[in-house]
Amino acid sequence: MGFTGVAFDFLLAVLGVAAPFILIASRAESARRVASTLILTAGLAGCLVAVSGLLRQPAPFLDLSWVTPFPFSLAVDRLTAFFLLLISAVTVPVTIFAVPYFDLHYSEPRRNWTWTFYSLFLLSMIVVVTASTGFAFLAGWELMTLVSAGLILIEGDSPERRHNVFIYLLMMHAGAAAVAACFFLFLPYSHGLDFETIRTASATIPGPIRTAVFLSAFVGFGTKAGLIPLHLWLPRAHPIAPSPVSALMSGVMLKTAVYGFVRFAFDFLGGGPSWYGYIVLLAGAVSGLLGVLYAIAEHDLKRLLAYHSVENIGIIYLGLGTSLVFLAHQAPIWAALALIAALLHTFNHALFKSLLFLGAGAISSATHTVDLEELGGLQRRMPVTGTTFLIACCSIVGLPLFNGFVSEWLTFRSFLAGSSLIGTKAQIILPLMVGILALIGGLAAACFVKVFGVAFLGRPRSVEAEHAVEVPLLMRGGMTVLAAACLLIGILPGLLLRPLVSLAQVLIPGAGVPEETLSIARIIPWIAAIVLGTSSVAALLKRRERMAVTWACGLPELSSRMQYTSTVFSKPIRFVFARAYRPDRTIETLPADQPYFPLSISYRSVRTTSYERALYRPFVEWVVSLAHRLRRLQTGNIQIYLLYIFLALVSLLTFLRFQN
């Protein structure tokens, strides 16, 4: 308790009080430096608290219930510690990166506000994962949305951005209502909303309420996580935030939703009937597949990455769903395996997705664009950024030796284990999921070949890309730390798997140590040795090297316009999966009467996803038209107003008459 407790209080105090106060109090450069250093130390303190929480038994840390009107306390148990570790581990490098980034991108007064919100954003996420009462959780949850929206708006407030932030806020608020509901639904059966009480009460609540809790947790957290079709806000909000914030939003904020879902579905409810799991699986599969398909079609790097977040959340939910299915069929050890897979992927995604967003930030710092069609050849100009970005790409694709692989492998393995549930639907459904995940993985690989190949390799496609120079030291440093972490977990997954196993044993009673976690941890270093060893031997075979201009098929010289672009690279895949996209295309030829000798041809392709058309728009239009109809009731005529009163009275009297 002693030292870690102090570290935890320090962390909260810095993020909640000290850093914002310093930043508001002083506009000086040094104040900003102090504040960012404080935030950095807070992140390190968070790591410390988390590691000790993962290793030791949980202990309550901070109880503010004597201050607040409803119980507000923060505590670190194993699950919390894991997510706290995730947040802190990402915070440290992102903050390092953010120092020069904010300096480069913001004018003087905005910088302070950005840092203030940044600090509060971290605080809110930490409050969410460490909250041990419903009140604290909900407060942190709402705050997290607000502060992140603020961070986006600081970057700029053009009408389009405004619209995107609006959608973000609205969906988050609706999701928060569902989240609130799943806490409150426990109330009739528990005396309060602190987690301990909820946990004990959950055994006594009737089935329909359990289902209601589960479904609202699924929808509420699913909105935050960005499950399709609740993802609408995600590709809008994430790309427009400043890159370090995008990194935090995509890398960390989404994970709080995973945390919430795990907390409810596993910790509180302890699973349920198997259809719980199938719903989650379905959502995961749809999100994963469509997420990656939409990502492939993007050429705005940050939007592309945002869609990949949808995809990865899909993978995480595949693991969670599998775990729920196993729980329903009383197979705790497999449930534990799937849960470990999901949680590990959560952690991995946090690392590589924030690294990717940082990379996008570095690119935009160097070239002032994140449009893939304007990039190219950056690897030679920005070697550190390129290498770290490549590592992140390999990780997100799930290539062996990188961290994404380990979690995907565990997920695959738990799918395969589904075949042991003989005589159930799961026997077939789970193994078939292997195909889905493989397809997702394959498409992701295609997508990141495109991303890295188009952005970093080949020839520069614009003047900006041609004159790009490597970003400042601290930015490189932040990215390097994350890349190293990706590699470390990729090669020595046992580091994280061991604490995850004990975490899974807490969440899933009766689960032993899944053999697979040990076997993968054992084999991966060997594979690394063989692959790297052979490659090095192969490198020795190479003797001389000579620069030679590529033959240009008789033309004077190859130009960057001859290279494959991002759009054309993805064309075959878009062609094959055309049904998933359905773009609105318009081709305009000027002048219109001379189709064969046009002065200009413009081509526009707008993708409005079918959910927008089928799910959201009709609903929004219905609400607004209802409001307009209600508006007509307020006619302006006082006689009608009086009539309303009389009618109200008469109907109440009638009600009274029938009541007696």
Binding site: P69, L153, F166, A177, Q634, I645, A648, L649, Q659
Partner: protein, 484 residues
């Protein structure tokens, strides 16, 4: 004496203020008198806290519930008076449109509202409720423009009709009390009614009938849908300090009156009937007003609808009853007052600086009017029930109670409307705060009085979001104790 002082000061004050023709002097006098009044109210509240209950004669009494609402009145009206002192600097000198008339009417208005809270007798309470309408009607029509006259007339007529039904309800209650053997003098005394209630001596049929009329009557004043029609007009057309007073104090006073009746009827015939009515009106108000917020074009009108929505929330809290429901409802009356007055203050500044309140006519405020924008933002975040502001707490309490009682029919619209309202506010606010400013404000800087008042309100919202101050909590407990 202590009970009479807060009543005497505003009545005398109205006369005194009228004597000063010089606007500056009138303003100073009004502020001085306002200060005195606040002090008197403070002393009264303290005495109620110490002694539990104060009685003066047969008709005046102050208990915990009165003290709680008086505190709200004192707090908000002090803010409003200070704000008005700055606000009126723009006002021209008409025949009745001058600061001294303004303050005189405000004092009369305050008098009626304070006496509503101090009435021991439900008949007197009715008289004073009607008095609030009369006192504020002129304030609503203060500017004497087309809109103001129209709004004033509608306000006067609609509320008078509504209040007439409340009178009928009061008479029915009186009838029930007299039939139950209470002496005619004490038959409308709230305390004796409460004492008589549990014995079931009061005819339940009559009580229900009375409650139906009262809820329609005072509901008109509160702004329950569908009797709310006057409310958006009056709030929009009144001078902004008056809008704040109407929304933040008057509606609460009407709610206070309804609470008194609700307590009696609940005790006599059981809470099922009155609470069902409250829930119905609460949900209806929330839903309709929540949706209408989406399609408003005038800032103040939008805020008026938001007031209706929040009265719905309070009604739901009352209708749920239970410790948390009541706690939430009472807390929400206060929180809503603070947030709404902050919003109206910023609306007033916008009107002065930009000359318009049309939502689509305002752009880029965050650049041109940073302080006002901040106030507007804080107020809106608070009013939509987001942490760390105080309305989150009260809504949290009410929702907890609703879920505890498993009232899913209340909960579902409640949660949906909260999202819709949030959407409405966010949508309108984005348009106003962001973007490039189209018109440039004339006097962008706030004067200290405005600055301070809005700062206090915002601080109060934040403070109550984190912690309910000790003394306030005590008063709240005492108010709850009165009702149960």
């Amino acid at each position: 004496m202590l009970l009479l002082l807060p009543l005497a000061i505003p009545i005398l004050g109205a006369g005194i203020v009228l004597m000063f023709r010089n606007p500056r002097v009138a303003t100073r006098a009004a502020l001085l008198l306002g200060g005195l009044e606040i002090a008197a109210l403070g002393a009264l509240i303290w005495q109620v806290h110490v002694r539990g209950e104060l009685q003066a004669g047969r008709y005046l009494r102050a208990d915990g519930l009165s003290a709680f609402f008086l505190m709200g009145i004192a707090f908000i009206s002090s803010l409003v008076l200070v704000y008005a002192s700055g606000y009126l600097r723009h006002m021209g000198e008409g025949r009745f449109t001058s600061p001294r008339w303004f303050y005189a009417l405000v004092f009369i208005f305050l008098f009626t509202m304070i006496s509503v809270c101090l009435s021991a007798n439900l008949g007197l309470l009715w008289i004073m409720m009607e008095g609030t309408t009369l006192a504020s009607a002129l304030l609503v029509g203060f500017y004497n423009t087309e809109g103001a006259v129209e709004a004033g007339w509608k306000y006067l007529i609609v509320c008078t009709v509504g209040i007439a039904f409340a009178l009928f309800g009061t008479i029915v209650l009186y009838l029930a009390a007299v039939k139950a053997g209470l002496s005619p003098d004490m038959a409308l005394d709230w305390l004796s009614l409460m004492n008589a209630a549990p014995g079931a001596a009061l005819d339940p049929h009559l009580l229900k009938l009375a409650f139906v009329f009262v809820i329609v009557g005072y509901g008109t004043k509160i702004g329950f849908v569908p009797m709310h029609s006057w409310l958006p007009d009056a709030h929009t057309e009144a001078p902004t300090p008056i809008s704040a007073l109407l929304s933040a104090v008057l509606l609460n006073c009407a709610m206070y009156a309804l609470m008194r009746y609700d307590a009696v009827v609940s005790r006599a015939v059981g809470p099922a009937f009155p609470h069902t009515l409250l829930l119905i009106f609460g949900v209806m108000s929330m839903v309709v007003a929540g949706l209408l917020i989406l399609v408003q074009r005038n800032l103040k009108r939008m805020m008026a609808y938001s007031s209706i929505e929040h009265m719905g929330i309070i009604a739901i809290g009352l209708g749920l009853g239970g410790p948390l429901g009541l706690f939430g409802a009472l807390l929400h009356t206060f929180n809503h007052s603070v947030a709404k007055s902050l919003l109206f203050f910023s609306a007033g500044n916008i009107r002065h600086s930009l000359g318009t309140l049309r939502i689509d006519g305002i752009n880029g405020m965050s650049r041109t009017l940073p302080q006002t924008s901040a106030a507007l933002l804080v107020g809106s975040l608070a009013i939509t029930g987001l942490p760390p502001f105080s309305l989150f707490i009260s809504e949290f309490a009410i929702l907890s109670e609703a879920f505890t009682q498993q009232r899913y029919l209340v909960v579902i619209p409640f949660l949906i409307v909260l999202s819709v309202v949030f959407g409405g506010f966010a949508y309108h606010l984005f348009g106003m705060l962001c973007g490039d400013p189209v018109r440039h404000p004339e006097n962008a800087r706030l004067i200290p009085s405005e600055y301070i008042v809005m700062g206090i309100a915002a601080f109060c919202l934040l403070l109550f979001g984190a912690r309910i101050p000790y003394f306030f909590g005590l008063l709240l407990q005492e108010a709850m104790a009165v009702l149960r």
